[in-house]
Amino acid sequence: MTMDMLAKSDLRPVRRRRGPAVGPGARLTLLSAASIAFALGLWFALAASGLLPKMLLPSPWDVAQALVKNIGVPFAGATLQQHLLASLGRFSAGFALAVAVGVPVGLMMGWFAPFRHAFAPFFETFRFIAPLAWVPFAALWFGTGIGGPILIVFSGAFAACVINTYRGARMTDERLIEACRTLGAGNWRLIVDVLLPSALPSIMAGIRVAAALGWQSLIGAELIVASSGVGYLIVQGQGSVETPIVMAGMATIGFVGLLIDLGLRQIDARIGRGWRAGA
């Protein structure tokens, strides 16, 4: 799995010192702006041209209006912010559970070989089950309660937490472990004071991937079984062919996902700021 790799790679341009210092930068910014303007313009033009019916392709303006309107006027039983609150509640519960279980499990797998051997077959089986394939059981076991969405978010986010924690724990410098053992550290102290902080960068990368996967799994689940939430909002929008609502919902989902990631980045940057500076 390469979830961690993906989390690290970004679309940030690699700096190459070549050619004059000022010229190309401005040109590239201009190109980027032109690209965005072109895409938006194309959308506006297509929507305005009437080539496609409005129900297939509303203009960006329609979408923005639908977004604003839905803040005041309920759609699918609730306003946008109420739907969002419902989704965020489910997400937080399932995500918190995945981190609270996944990180300790990853650490245990990294430290105790018998635990690793016993757990590995289940983990290897379950991580190939698409998170949404749990929807039928989520419905059977929990009905419309909050347990169902929590199970789905958990099954989406759990694997990334475990794998990255495990990898990080295994990468711990053997010399640190030995040094602490000679100082009298037992299993518990080694896990808490050595493995956990050492694995922290990897864990945080895993948690960010887990959040993205969990958020997306929740939206998927809300498309199928829910009576509230932003996923429910867009699937209801689809049912009544309110395409502006669908797109407004999608924008909201994307924006909130971005905010979640930003928040986690902030936490990541703050944890261990003192010691990580030179590490």
């Binding site: 010399r175 640190l176 040094a179 000679t182 100082l183 009298g184 004071d193 902080p197 010691w275 030179g278």
Partner: protein
């Protein structure tokens, strides 16, 4: 009572295509309170010997006893100081020094005065809340030594502790170590590449030969050190003494022949009377 006794110790490692013999039967006694340095070419098994005493490794055959008890695993009665310091990067100097005490179940309040005392002893005042990466190599190693000494171990195992330091710092640390061990006699097993360092610090210097590792010869320094009062004189002065130079040169020759005439060495794996 905290002597170290290696008796007929061998260590073989599993390798692709058979076992690799790191130590042939080695018998070596380090009596209680003695400072023994081990020198030898790379791969002569000197670090293996130290790891066996630390309980980080186990002998294939033979026995390793410390203080009359067989070594089964690491323990705070035997402190290890590593070449790479091995400080926890996410803990401050204070937390690193107090780590072993915390492992013993001591509360922060109980540990505090002890930690402060060792901060002072190791001249680390004002750096208690720094993280290791903010310190120089010499200071980091002083933290590592403090974190070992605070546990008042009976045995000190040092694996090329000053090998990663620059020459200047290295000499300061050597003096520091003399000062520390003079205050409280401890059994020390000290591994080094430096013949000068071994001569300056040790009561006896063990010369090892490699592949498989064995004891080539043991050179006594203690009587000279006592007679000429090395411990009370600065390093540079000691290093100019004829006696010092003679021992150093002898060790050099032994080391060379240990590398060259490997076959002779087998006859020198004699137990040393203490």
């Amino acid at each position: 009572m905290s002597g170290i006794a290696f008796t007929d110790v061998t260590r073989a490692f599993e390798r692709k295509g058979g076992a690799f013999q790191a130590l042939e039967p080695v018998t070596l006694h380090v009596p209680d309170g003695e400072f023994v340095a081990i020198v030898g070419p790379s791969g002569c098994g000197k670090t293996t010997l130290l790891r066996l005493a630390a309980g980080l490794d186990h002998p294939t055959t033979g026995s390793v006893m410390v203080g009359g008890r067989a070594v089964t695993g690491p323990g705070p009665d035997r402190a290890v100081v590593f070449q790479q310091f091995a400080l926890l990067p996410w803990k401050t100097v204070r937390q690193n020094i107090g780590f072993g005490l915390k492992c013993r179940g001591m509360s922060d309040a109980e540990a505090r005065p002890l930690v402060e005392r060792y901060l002072a002893t190791m001249r680390l005042e004002g750096h208690g809340d720094s993280y290791p990466h903010q310190l120089s190599g010499g200071m980091q190693q002083r933290v590592a030594i403090a974190r070992s000494f605070i546990l008042e171990p009976e045995v000190l195992l040092m694996d090329e502790p000053f090998g990663a330091l620059d020459a200047q710092t290295r000499i300061e640390m050597q003096e520091e170590l003399i000062r520390l061990t003079a205050g409280q006699r401890r059994t020390v097993l000290f591994i080094t590449h430096s013949v000068e360092e071994a001569t300056y610090l040790a009561d006896r210097v063990v010369v090892m030969a490699g592949r498989p590792g064995s004891v080539r010869e043991i050179v006594d320094v203690a009587s000279l050190r006592k007679a000429e009062r090395w411990a009370e004189r600065p390093v540079e002065e000691v290093m100019e003494l004829d006696s010092f130079i003679r021992i150093r040169t002898r060790l050099w020759r032994l080391l060379r022949s240990a590398g060259a005439h490997r076959d002779d060495a087998a006859t020198h794996t004699l137990p040393i009377a203490s």
